[in-house]
Symmetry: C2
Subunit: 128 residues, 2 copies
DNA sequence: CAAACTGTATTATATGTATAATACAGTTGT
DNA sequence: ACAACTGTATTATACATATAATACAGTTTG
């Protein structure tokens, strides 16, 4: 069963989009795998304190992207192959990197300063 | 006169928020200074191809934050002191750094990998 | 079988964002 | 003074997001 423990709604973007991204990041990080069971619409909505329709909207998008399989009455399952996982991972990495480079450049930060800043905010990550 | 040449509406967030951020980043980068003249609501809306009311909403927020001064009939001017500029700069840097660190960590990237990725996407920035 | 769960669909309501069309008061430039 | 610009305000409309309250069909489980 996919966990939503670390899901938080701080963002101002639509909740159904945040759910979508949460799943995609889970896939990219290898925490969410093919065949994994998703919480039901009602259960997840109760868990997150949001409307079932909002969860449904997110799940519908995931299905349209071919990432999950849903059938009336049955539980919804993740539907992934290794190629899909790699594509998602690459997409997320690229968009993240581009975003940070873009905003930092706009602030007039040098590459060295940017790297130092990120290193500092990485915090107590010791190993690696 | 403050330039909006490098302003683009790609983001999904509200346009008036994007205008707000654009100004704030300009302030932080030192491109926008105290006393600078803002384009009028009508002119900027025509320039960006959006509704005057949307620009007004952004300008109103800037005024509520004390960053601009507006008076009926008169042109709107930036209203900044060095302390304000530093606060804005620090806020933007912190939120950007936190955002990228958060998302990269969620993807299970190591600090070294993250730094390498950013360095790569920084592109052809030669000096510094 | 029957109860309790699934997914799916519909209708209504509220709010935020954006547009459109005006209107009016104050300032600026000729 | 007068025209052309400013800022500000109002009303109406449209769309996206989110909630609420149901309803129904299919499955899973005891």
């Amino acid at each position: 069963m996919i966990s939503f423990d670390s899901f938080v709604v701080t963002d101002k973007s639509p909740i159904y989009m945040q759910i979508l991204r949460y799943i995609q990041r889970g896939i990219a990080a290898g925490q969410i795998c093919d065949g994994d069971e998703l919480p039901s619409r009602r259960v997840l909505s109760a868990l997150l304190g949001i409307n079932p329709n909002t969860v449904q909207k997110a799940y519908r998008l995931l299905e349209e992207r071919g990432l999950i399989e849903s059938h009336t009455g049955a539980k919804s399952l993740m539907c992934l192959d290794s190629e899909t996982v790699e594509v998602i991972r690459a997409e997320l990495l690229e968009s993240d990197a581009k975003a940070v480079v873009g905003t930092m450049k706009q602030l007039g930060i040098s590459k060295t300063q940017a790297l130092a800043l990120i290193e500092r905010y990485w915090g107590e990550e010791t190993a690696e």
